[in-house]
């Protein structure tokens, strides 16, 4: 049957593209300067954060606006464990950071995830702000606004490959979760929470799980960034820009898709670099414009565009510019 073969061909193309991309990313450091490698590492770390946000914001449909709290928590936990008397090595420290972030996210999530819509968004924003102030004022542990200095490690390749490994792991975890009962529960909650509960889904547990997972992704990204940047301060590691970047990256790529956050992070980093070099001062303005344009014309991100263009290229569907107006047609008020 043509449909089934079509699906297989589509999967085959996707798999081949992913393999080529992965090999490309693996040999990339051979051809890049240390500076460019930094940009690529930044892209991978952003992809990691976006993957985390995608679990709560994309699949479960809860607009978390405070994930930077866990980014900072991961950074501080990793750093403080490495600096402690035990001198914990980097990777165990990183995992402790992720575990702690997941645990704290679950504790915070229990009350906060009862809120819906805007209330949840602003409450998480508040949590992140509270975290920043705690890191700022808890001098005896965090050394306040002076910050802490991690052991120095300079090889760019180490950070690049670590980040790449975590992103690949993130993709695999996302696939596994998406195909498990948990993933179906998340999508059901996004669709209609009350209906999901009637079907016997423990919505509270599932939401807390999504929030905890997203926190762990953010914490690993935070730990990596901390080790690479060496100097960790509350102002740098709890800034709302990180939350925004992960949300923007996920939306550019496509919320609730497996590869969307990675794609979005790549596109975001490209755009960001381009704008940064051309119009340094207008950088945030252009980002604001990008958000507005995506929300109006491509709220589901680039993933559907990508799969759509493959169909067009194979002659399955005709190209229609009007697809861009579909969102406005469906959601405008007259």
């Amino acid at each position: 049957m043509p449909e089934r073969r079509g699906l297989r061909v589509g999967q085959w193309i996707g798999l081949a593209a992913t393999a080529v991309l992965l090999v490309g990313l693996l040999i990339l450091p051979k051809f890049q300067s240390q500076y460019d490698l930094l940009t690529y590492t930044r892209f991978l770390v952003l992809a990691l954060m976006a993957q985390g946000w995608n679990l709560i914001g994309g699949y479960t449909g809860y607009a978390a606006f405070g994930n930077v709290a866990f980014f900072g928590l991961g950074a501080y936990t990793t750093g403080l464990l490495m600096l402690s008397k035990l001198q914990v090595p980097f990777f165990p420290a990183l995992f402790c950071g992720a575990l702690l972030a997941g645990l704290i996210a679950a504790l915070i999530g229990l009350p906060v995830l009862r809120l819906k819509g805007h209330y949840f968004a602003i409450a998480t924003l508040g949590v992140a702000e509270a975290f920043r102030q705690i890191a700022d004022t808890w001098d005896s542990v965090t050394q306040g606004s002076t910050g802490i200095d991690l052991p120095v490690r300079t090889e760019g390749e180490f950070f690049y490959y670590s980040a790449l490994a975590f992103v690949v792991l993130g993709v695999l975890v996302t696939i596994a979760l998406r195909r498990s009962k948990i993933g179906y529960a998340w999508v059901a909650i996004r669709g209609d929470q009350d209906a999901a509960r009637m079907l016997g889904i423990n919505t509270t547990a599932m939401k807390v799980l999504a929030f905890a997972f997203s926190a762990m992704f953010a914490a690993i990204a935070g730990g990596l960034t901390a080790y690479q940047n060496i100097h960790v301060t509350p102002g740098d590691f709890f800034k709302i820009e990180y939350t925004l970047q992960m949300i923007i990256a996920t939306i550019i790529g496509g919320t609730g898709t497996i590869l969307g956050p990675v794609l979005g992070a790549g596109v975001y980093q490209l755009l960001s670099n381009y704008v940064w070099t051309r119009f340094l001062e207008l950088h945030p303005t252009v980002l604001g414009l990008i958000i507005i344009l995506f929300i109006i014309f491509l709220p589901r991100g680039l993933m559907p565009v990508l799969t759509g263009s493959i169909e067009v290229a194979r002659g399955r569907r005709r190209f229609r510019l009007q697809a861009l107006l579909a969102n406005v047609r469906a959601h405008r008020v007259t």
Binding site: I122, G126, A130, T137, L244, T285, G288, I292, I295, H331
Partner: protein
């Protein structure tokens, strides 16, 4: 805390609550009627402040005279923003309008930053710094006038919503959009009008703020958050609730600010989260949306 200090803090709180109510009223209107948490609300406050600053510096107008001009300009801007941008996606899931207004906020604030730089500005007049004494307490004239003007604008808005045809159309649309449409209300226009009023009130508040505090393009962000907290405190759906929320917030803010300045935001948000969890409809409010 001695009685004089206590009294001064209380006076400051009362003087602050007027402007807060003005900012929060526009925010609450947009939220209550259209279910939009307008993250660009603070950006309109910033625009209002800068407009007053430049009308005062370049044209030489008295800052109080600029208020109607500023409010009219922001009204037009708000109307356009709603018609051209927000109305296009307003029926999409919540996150869409949330992020759209957020993008708008980044856009406006950074354009202001680009053109006017991040320097701290302030509007200074002959009467800046003058005030009257009430026993040991000091009451600056400008803050007193700002309180008066704020309350006047709040009252005018309340009257407009209550007794004019357009105002009733706005409230009807907020209650039941389909029923409103059946009675001949042009919903898209009413939405634009609502957003325009919200922006205009924010602009007026920005205008008043420019005379009271030194400001830079980041002034607005905190006011968006404050407006949100006030709406949560008071609850949506009624002008009285907004005033109640503003007074409550002003007292908490001023007292915590006087005692524990470094923890004020953590404290405010702590209270907020607690309140949201225990009583999401606000202290006095009823649920209109969400």
């Amino acid at each position: 805390m001695n009685p004089t200090e206590f009294g001064q803090i209380a006076v400051n709180a009362v003087l602050l609550s007027g402007i807060l109510a003005l900012v929060a009223l526009g925010f609450s209107l947009v939220w209550g009627i259209m279910n939009i948490v307008n993250l660009s609300h603070g950006a309109f406050v910033v625009l209002g402040a800068y407009l007053t600053f430049f009308l005062h510096e370049l044209v030489g107008l008295d800052p109080f005279v600029t208020i109607p001009i500023v409010m009219f300009a922001l009204f037009l801007l708000g109307f356009g923003v709603q018609q051209v941008l927000i109305n296009q996606v307003i029926r999409a899931p919540l996150l869409a309008t949330f992020l759209l207004t957020f993008g708008l906020e980044i856009l406006i604030v950074n354009l202001v930053n680009y053109f006017f730089k991040a320097d701290l500005r302030s509007v200074t007049t002959r009467y800046t710094g003058t005030g009257m004494s009430l026993g040991p307490l000091r009451i600056p004239y400008i803050r007193l006038a700002a309180l008066g003007i704020s309350l006047l604008l709040v009252a005018v808005t309340a009257a407009f919503l209550k007794s004019t045809r357009q105002g009733r159309a706005i409230r009807a649309t907020g209650m039941d959009i389909d029923a409103a449409r059946l009675t001949g209300v042009k919903v898209a226009q009413i939405y634009a009008l609502t957003f325009a009023i919200g922006a205009s009130l924010a602009g007026g508040a920005g205008s008043l703020l420019s005379m009271i505090v030194p400001f830079d393009p980041n002034l607005g962000e905190t006011y968006t958050q404050r407006a949100f907290v006030i709406c949560v405190l008071g609850g949506l759906g009624d002008v009285g609730n907004v005033i109640l929320g503003a007074i409550l917030y002003a007292f908490v803010d001023v007292f915590v600010g006087a005692r524990l300045p470094e923890m004020s935001q953590a404290f405010t948000f702590g209270v907020l989260v607690l309140l949201l969890v225990l009583r999401p409809q606000g202290i006095a409010g009823k649920k209109l949306y969400a």
